[in-house]
């Protein structure tokens, strides 16, 4: 740490005597020369990279320890950051908390004056009502569709991602381009023909049909994400396994699966969120079959039926989001880490 710090201080002192001097440090500088200088510095800086990176992670972004102005600056910046956290938490968390609170209020004092967030007593009658309307069926259907769907998506996209990463065949780039194109096209554009495809396959009003559509829709994204993970695994590992006598399938299973496991987890989590939440396709395919309702369809139909029972709508919403929220809260660090992986070498 200390050795990393030393060249830094010497450099900054030379810099400040070099250029326009102390005025630049106080912040009113003509900073255009930062842009001019940095390319030449980048080269020179490379030798010290590790030490500096360590310093940046551990230390404060404060420079010029003796600068009294900076201290005020930092306190101000901290206050702004805390203020933003507060506003963000209020805006993003309040509706969810409110819906939970609304769902457990007794029917009489739904919204009583004065404004109270916590109801005086907890009532589960709203939940009982949703339960009677088929909530268990919706949950079972959504769970089954999500598990089978996510499993199928992973099973289809892992081999494809492997092939795109490890084989060099003609038309590979073009095919990848097409896959990307499919990823970018929203499924709502093709919803009418999707319906007719299922009709000709005889799979309308079946959960299997819906799962197949989901596999078709979510595979492109999953392939791209997984290919990125495969690409980060050096091919030397494959060669080593080959020398040990593994064929490609064995290499994938015994050697590559472990390093790409985080990628599979990210794909699984993302697809779980998508499949659980998806509405328009499910509604189109299963909307006429009450016993096949997923949670999204069920909650939607429930609210069109009991439009004014806000407590029950709130209860249905809580039930619909609770499983996802639970999964998410358990995995959120992993989730974000996986998402920005590749960019974060240090963490």
């Amino acid at each position: 740490m200390t050795t990393g710090r030393e060249p830094d201080t010497s450099r900054s002192s030379t810099a400040s005597t070099n250029g326009t001097g102390d005025r630049r440090r106080s912040g009113e500088s003509d900073t255009s020369d930062v842009g001019v200088d940095s390319p030449s510095r980048t080269d020179g800086g490379q030798t010290g990279v590790s030490g500096w990176a360590g310093e940046r992670l551990a230390g404060t972004p404060l420079d010029g320890a003796g600068n009294a102005l900076a201290d005020v600056d930092v306190r101000l910046a901290d206050a702004v950051a805390y203020g933003l956290y507060g506003v963000a938490m209020l805006f993003f968390a309040f509706p969810v908390l409110w819906i939970v609170s609304a769902s457990v209020r007794p029917a009489g004092e739904l919204f009583s004056f004065p404004f109270r967030f916590f109801p005086r007593e907890v009532s589960v009658t709203a939940y009982q009502r949703v339960l009677q309307e088929g909530m268990v069926t919706w949950l079972v259907n959504s769970t089954a569709i999500t598990i089978v769907g996510v499993g199928s998506i992973v099973a289809v996209s892992v081999p494809a991602a492997y092939a795109f990463s490890r084989f060099r065949f003609r038309g590979r780039r073009q095919l990848l381009g097409v896959v990307l194109l499919f990823q970018m096209i929203s499924s709502i554009v093709i919803i009418v023909p999707l319906y007719s495809v299922l009709t000709s396959l005889g799979l309308v009003d079946t959960r299997a049909g819906l799962v197949l559509l989901y596999v078709g829709i979510q595979t492109p994204f999953s392939i791209w994400l997984l290919k990125g993970y495969f690409d980060t695994v050096p091919e030397e590992l494959d060669y080593a396994a080959q020398i040990d006598g593994c064929n490609r399938l064995q290499t994938l299973r015994h050697v590559l699966l472990r390093p790409i496991a985080p990628g599979i987890a990210v794909v699984a989590i993302f697809n779980t969120v998508f499949l659980w939440s998806e509405f328009v396709i499910a509604y189109t395919v299963l909307g006429s079959e009450r016993r096949l309702y997923t949670i999204s369809i069920g909650v939607y139909e429930f609210q069109s039926q009991f439009g004014n029972d806000w407590r029950a709508i709130a209860a249905a919403s809580v039930v619909g989001m609770l499983p996802l929220v639970a999964v998410f809260v358990a995995l959120q660090r992993y989730f974000v880490k996986g998402l920005i992986k590749g960019s974060l070498k240090g963490e």
């Binding site: 912040g27 510095r41 990279v49 950051a81 933003l84 084989f167 189109t284 996802l324």
Partner: protein, 313 residues
Amino acid sequence: MATAGEDGLVASGVERGRDLASRIVDNPVPWLLPTLTVLALFQLYPLVEAVRLSLTNEVLTATSTEFVGLENYVDLVTSIGFRQMVVVTAVFAVSSIVLHTVAGLVLALAIDYGVRRGLRGHLTTRVSVLLAWIVPGIIIGLIWKVMLVESQFGAINHVLGTVGIGPVPFRSNPTLALASTIVAGTWRGTAFAMIMIYGGLQRIPPRLYEAARVDGAGRWARFRHVTIPQLKPVMFVTIVLVSIYALNTFDLIFALTNGGPGRATEVFALFMYRKAFTDYALGEGAAVAVVLLGVNLLLTAVYLYVFDIGDQL
């Protein structure tokens, strides 16, 4: 490793079967076959079929259909509902893009700052924002419907009522209804922009900041001359992806306002869905879909151009 042991077993076993297996797995086709099948069935064919349908007068209830050329497109563009829908979609999309990106940028910077300074609360903030993102779209629509109920029963109107305002007609006034969908959309969409931009912030090499600091750049100067230029590519990609996302929004609006009042919140996807599944005019609905497809493709082209994805192919 386990590999070696198992391999030894295999080698001593059926040598010929292993050769055959190796030969099969040495060809990319078996690896890609499941993917190619589902993509052909559920992506390629539907796309072609959507274009074909848009050139016919197919109606779900009629038995015979005929080729009508571009008639659907001409009818579409000249119809009154279409113009209003384009305006509504444009307002919704542009506001969403601005709000998602700005809110995402501000939060990403605040969280990045908090992580480096060791401030408390950055994790809770991140979780709150992401929480809104994973709530199913239909339920987001319903949550905001309950929040915006137009009497003192609605949370927002309740709060406004205590300070003597309201009740505000959040869902029955056309302008306010559109604003409500935009706010609900921002509630959901900010997380995506935030994660993308946060990822971009982590990608900025620390030595650039060091170099700037060495040159005596203050906090603002470093932000202005290091962070912003370095963040430009990821901002662009975020904007394009948010645009695609906003233009295809369906479920949230379907649950919150169902396009109403009148057609005040009827965006592209909702317009198309109604044509196809309420009016049963599959041909016309397909024409709307193809227009939306064209917009999507245009944005994708921009995305590819900016992202310079060529290296990754």
